[in-house]
Amino acid sequence: MTRALSTILVVDDDPSIRRGLAAELAAAGYETLEAVDGEEGARLAAEREPDLVLTDLAMPVADGFELIARLRRAGRTPILVLSVRGGDADKIRALDLGADDFVVKPFSVPELLARVRAQLRRHADESAAGVLAFPGLTLDRERRRVVVEGKEIRLTPTELAILELLAGHAGKPITIRQIIGRVWHGAPGTTPDAVRVHVGSLRKKIEPDPARPRYIVTEPWVGYRFVAEPI
């Protein structure tokens, strides 16, 4: 993080939620900005350059999708989306537009704060070097080696590419479409099922306990998320 105090822009048309979020974020030590819609959000983001934007999707003037698109044209500020349960199509659309993560309403405050921290940290060390290290797992991108619990694991090129993509964005949900785009370079005929099969075999190789996945979890319909925190 470049500043001692990170600034978070909260965009929601509901005043009690907007103020409640701002109060909790302030109590957790962040500086906050508030906007009532995507229009004001985009303006404040341009003027004040917040470290993270937390936005609702459904808003009367310039909704969350429009805000995400505008923010992505301008830069890489992490965007956390507030979505509703059952709104999977909305989630996928937001992620494909460039949002970094989502929390589902109603959410618990500790969960929200954890997501905010993860995004701020991820953004800070995204330019990280060739070796990604997590508890029990390291991935050396240059030498293409994966070590789990001290043992080198052999992965197929596809599995390795998926692991690189997911672990390289630890904490961020990656949509199936993004995986097909980055790993298969959008090769026509690549189906979500093919992605599932490869992720399934990758998980078998790296997860020590299949009942309690430590590294890769499924985000239903959306895709996958690498959940271990980098060391």
Binding site: S16, I17, E24, R196, V197, A211, P213
Partner: protein, 397 residues
Amino acid sequence: MALATFLLASVVVSRLVARAQRRAADAEARRTEMEALYDLSIDLFAATNRIGALGEAAGRALRTIGASGGGLVLFGNGPPEVVLSVGQGLDTADSLLESVGRAGEPAEVPAADGTRDVYLPLAVGGRTNGVLVVRGTRAERNALASVGRLVALAVERERFLSERAHLEALRESDALKTSLLRAVSHDLRTPITAIQLGLERLRRTSGAAAAADVHEVSAETERLSRRIDNLLAMARLDAGTYVPRPEPAPPADLFRATLEALPLVLSGRTIQVTVAPDTPDALADPALAVEILANLLENAARAGPGDAALELAAEPNPSDHRRLRLDVRDRGAGVPSDVKRAAASGLSPAEAGRAGLGLVICSSLARAMGGTVALLDRPGGGTIARLDLPAAPEGPA
């Protein structure tokens, strides 16, 4: 002889001329008829693309063939419907209407002044939909038949249009249901989110004395939120605005999502998660599966003694390798007796009262994706709530 020949010739010529003139007049009449029919067909098919214009069109048809009156009656499922009746119009008690409609053959009633009343069946594809009554006409049979066919097609077209309008109305009402459910969902969840934020603020500022109360209210809010999710899921399924989308779902992922859905209700509880070797992935709609498991787990948390571990366990279904079981196990008092009694006397769980309602919701959510839910007494005490689901087909290795 020459005179006779001349006379004969003149008679022949004059007859020929008269015939030629008659033919010319016939041709002219035909031409007029054809033009009238052409105009009528344009009226019927281009101008009447609004529902209810059929009566006007039938009126134009009668004028086209120079009728003094008449009308249009349609046969549907109910009593015959008079769409038009002009001049000496029509009477539904007229037995000719019914017999022409039944036979599908036209009928004619000559009048003293040389005109006639004609009853034309309106048939498309062998089915007679109605009768066009033309009174006081001198028009040719062919022209009348053409008019009858045109009006029959217009009737059919109108039927089609009104059916389409009905379908569109249905689609619109689906869209309305979807947006209504969205609005309800938003309007119910927004205040809950605000309440949770408020509780968090309270927890932060009120100190230790109120902590237990705040926690209790928070846990209840979480329960309320689950109830709303349950009811909305049911409503969406019922309204047909939510179609389950089964996908291969690893049991571990479903369990993890379930635990995340109940952070407060489960705080301080020990949860054991096991996935037996060789357990296949479920083929399930993840949202519905998590909805069900969260519901079952919440009941289990309420049933058991607070210090007993709750168990989430996945295993293959021993009697059907294409299915698997996801169990929620507690050490509470076992299957509630009213649920058992209801099952024993063949009642649905809904009739078992409060304990049964959650089970009804879970069962109907499970059914929507080919699953079942059952409550079983657990050996050694407690309940097993079992969600049985189809397994995902094995992918290529």
